[in-house]
Symmetry: D3
Subunit: 136 residues, 6 copies
């Protein structure tokens, strides 16, 4: 059970309702999920977080599905059950296939492994790699 | 400085050289980076890790650039300097633009933030989200 | 269900009871929570951990509520459900208001985000900041 | 070396300069640190992040020093060298004493330890604690 | 509930059954646990992961129980409930006593604490330690 | 450079010197490493941490080398450079061979990978495993 009260639409202030309305309109859905209802006790954080997520996840140089995959990669690494569920749902809605999901999880697993092989041996960055990684 | 000796090609056993050769051929490069040279003191791990990475990162349902972005997302979340550098280099080589890199980092940051908003409020997964996240 | 047996007061050895008594006296409560009951199978760890927590969380240069907020910040970052619950309970008991809790969670979220923006771009510490961070 | 170019004031667009100006005015300093210069290659993220940080770190129900301590707790748990340095510098500027810093680090250490004792024994949240942790 | 379907033996392809058979034979058990059933939707990852685990966990320079303890240390640090449960079960089967488990958890807790004391104070590696840590 | 002054033996108070003496005697060395010198600005934390480490790392149901391997597993997972160096040095001193070190790192890598495969698929603990993991 959440540590704060979830604010339902009918109990929400006009300020909170405006955010809920924008969430539903932007996502073309008729309901708001628990994450936003938990944030709604702190309207400034609700508004800031929603506007940030909307900006960051908008189609741009990366398409929305790719952004969802990245979100899942972070959430799986951090083991955030809510976020893994909600962004897997979003990714499926954005067209992620079962085969894509399987490859995503395999890459996440591999990266977490090699991160620790590197840490364990304290491998230093190759000069050529440092050079190639940098913005020209 | 790495905690183990880096094995150079000229000092490598035939078994290790075979892996180095495959790395260079597969990647169309004429050198091997420190990560593999550090693993080479343990040829079984070198071979297994290389074959795993080759399998996991091969083009499939996800394209190689998307896989590199996912790798970076994990490595940034874990703060693995070597891995951030090497996979950013690979991503650039695979065509990642500066604008894509900027969006990638923005999504990684946002996901790490909302993961903790969820944890902090102990938000429970919505039934509808759990349903939508699952394989049909 | 815990991986070890929880030791109840009536089943506890005198050594464990002494710690339980001190916990209840120090906290002015008449019960002991599961964390200590799980540790009690290892009396040396129980005693050491309790004495360490008592020392570290005592009022000093920082007041007890501030220490609870710091504890929550760590526990949310690590996603430790038990610890988030128990230290949120302690913080509320120590006077944390809903508004303070909301600001706490917002700061934790923001810090987790900017930590990754820094990692992602591999930003180097400014000389002036390094200087200002150090003990004079 | 950062993976992206640091944008100096003299090379910045008006949009970026406006953020830099606001940072310097708000903080009453005459320079901008590397973090913002790295973000400046992505003006939308620069602006959003600065406005978010300004909102979140403003005095409110928690005072600015307490917020800096929370920021440090997250950054130390995640091992973000830049963030540990910059927020320790900010905390010292906001009046953090050496004794407060020492107690902060001690609490962070203890929380990271007990988080894992809880994980290791898979301790379940006590009903009373769950109740006391929740918003009334 | 898992995000993918668990593949039961009777519904498995010959390729998946071959892995299941090898798991049961190697472990001298007559059932397969959920982890493998979840991976089975991606037979290449199932096969690669099983063969990797079999190689890595085989008796070698370290005995199987020690390897299980190391596995638990990682899983507790990352707070992976499934992995803590499954490797504690394996460790008990390999002979881990209650006293060994208690010491294991105590070391894991202590290491997580001192890791953050080091981070918090940004302690630099002593030259002598760096020297002694390296392969001769 | 550390964020606090390192206290040298000649500048230390009798209280701090007593801890330094005990460290050197217990470890049969004639010097104290930076970790303790950084903690020494907070004598209560220095004393508590040293006594805790001494208790936890003492030979018991697990031998000292096994404890060092566990310490390394945590430190590599958390990417604590100081701790990886210092405990690898201690492990080598306690007799860790190159082959053992290589197997240790391989297990750490594998555990970090499978932890995320489990998270990614949200695999639930098997009833049999939960039963087998618990203390009888």
């Amino acid at each position: 059970m959440a540590l704060v009260k979830l604010i339902e639409y009918e109990d929400a202030s006009p300020e909170v309702r405006a955010v809920y309305d924008d969430i539903m309109t932007s996502r073309k859905v008729d309901w708001v999920n628990n994450f936003w209802k938990a944030l709604a006790g702190d309207p400034a954080t609700l508004k800031r977080t929603w506007e940030s997520v909307k900006q960051v996840m908008a189609p741009g140089a990366l398409d929305p599905l790719t952004k969802e995959l990245i979100y899942i990669a972070v959430s799986v690494t951090n083991n955030c059950e809510y976020c893994i569920n909600s962004h897997t749902a979003s990714a499926r809605k954005a067209g992620m296939t079962d085969a894509q999901f399987a490859e995503l999880i395999a890459v996440i697993g591999m990266a977490n492994e090699t991160n620790r092989l590197v840490n364990g041996y304290q491998v230093e960055v190759d000069g050529r790699i440092a050079e190639a990684a940098r913005q020209k």
